[in-house]
Homo-oligomer: 318 residues x 2
Amino acid sequence: MADGGDPTLRQLGEFPMIDRLVAHRRQPTGVTVGPGDDAAVVNMPDGRVVVTTDMLVEGRHFRLDWSSPQQVGRKAIAQNAADVESMGARASAFVVAFGAPPDTPASRAQELADGMWQEAGALGAGIVGGDLVASPQWVVSVTAFGDLGGRVPVLRSGARAGSVVAIAAGLGRSAAGYLLCRNDIGGFDEVRLRHLVPQPPYGQGVRAADAGAQAMTDVSDGLLADLGHIAHSSGVLVDLATDALRADVEAIAAAAAVVGVDPLTLVLSGGEDHALVACFPGAVPPGWRVIGTVRDGAPGVLVDGRDWAGPAGWQSFD
Amino acid sequence: MADGGDPTLRQLGEFPMIDRLVAHRRQPTGVTVGPGDDAAVVNMPDGRVVVTTDMLVEGRHFRLDWSSPQQVGRKAIAQNAADVESMGARASAFVVAFGAPPDTPASRAQELADGMWQEAGALGAGIVGGDLVASPQWVVSVTAFGDLGGRVPVLRSGARAGSVVAIAAGLGRSAAGYLLCRNDIGGFDEVRLRHLVPQPPYGQGVRAADAGAQAMTDVSDGLLADLGHIAHSSGVLVDLATDALRADVEAIAAAAAVVGVDPLTLVLSGGEDHALVACFPGAVPPGWRVIGTVRDGAPGVLVDGRDWAGPAGWQSFD
């Protein structure tokens, strides 16, 4: 046994490890068949299921010298839940495939699962199934399921000229936190934490849909990049007002100064905050703030009426 | 450009690659929102969704010097679909997360997707969404969704004494094919192919459920191991008759002789054939053959009334 009674995945074996991971978890109502059979069965009273998947690879999407396994688990659930939110739905269940080296201590896998359950619990959701395999490095692949509750899904393609652009939750924190971690700079714990564990505004996706949101997405690649998807899908021009982003700029200004980066650049192009951004034809609901307008024009995103000259967002294969 | 006009994933970039992967695919009816938004929306008229996930890691679950990308894609879909079948449902949609090194030629990713669509097409299903990320080696993580069509899900826990055990599709082929590949032995193309691309008996899961199957699973870890799950979940003793497995033994006897392994061992303990095995209280439906009986007794699996002394199945972390 490695580390005084903490067996490795190889020593424990796949099925006993899975037994540990699922023991004492309370599945939400609506889970007809939970872990332990060939597949799970989850109620979808709407008659439709919202589905999305994201894969996190160690060294690429997280580092185990920056994040605890618990934080990796929370992040993996949160970013999938944000995709469900941005359709106007709420995540009700997740399945997780986890690959790790055979010499991984079982306690580390347990911490990962604990983080996942913690984040899922904030949604009233559960982890209903999974797979556990050997891999040269950690790979965490999560699929989220949500129910629309009778709502029309909010796509990226519905934005119309004359609407406003609004955001729920903050921007730039994850990118600032990433730069702090990468440069090994202490302090700014809250900012760094927001990189390790994003905090999507749970419930705001449904609220936005109920308030008539025409188009919505979550900020995963950066505000300009993600609004660009809406602009091109909808055939509209989005114009952002930096005045309206002042609170975000101020929140990360000190951290940005330490890493030597313009905070507005981080707010506009930093990814992984998993805030929600949506276009509304009228008043925005509580929890949302207006940051721009939707106009006719060649599809794209302007900043204070001009093209943005800085970087636009995260690239997967750089 | 690598290889005369075939860009790498890094050269092409994530979104242009995804555009290529989803272009010209025909989504089945029932897919309300397909790829290209934050999440997909798929009809689940039953009001429940059957979900299962499996992760395949290069070097562990497949080798790109043995399998073509197209075969990896088919296998990844097939083994998830088999899990859905074994609940008494039919897979209607899949999401796929794919990790690969940035220098992977785009054409190889395209071949993987082609294989997935080919296998999904055999089910009348589609790939409704996914994720594409950088990873040191290929990682393919598939989640399958199925609809029960009003049926009660067939669990592992429903087997009762007095029933028969029956199987749909063949056994031992995948294990024999694996040994041929591993020992670099030519010939036996059909057996080797069954390792690279399993052939679950699509439609037999629903047929078994309609015929009153009490318990069902697919053979992924080996017949003894997977029937052991049914035996322990149901609290019954299963007794297999090797006479009834003669056709499987004969089908791989020549290949087994070349690799120097007892063919009955491969039939009983070889995994990844993704045949379906179920317990029926009465007559078995067409396409199924009886291979044993269910009795009262200490939960376990006997072979011709005796304990089996050989290996029982695949271990994930060996």
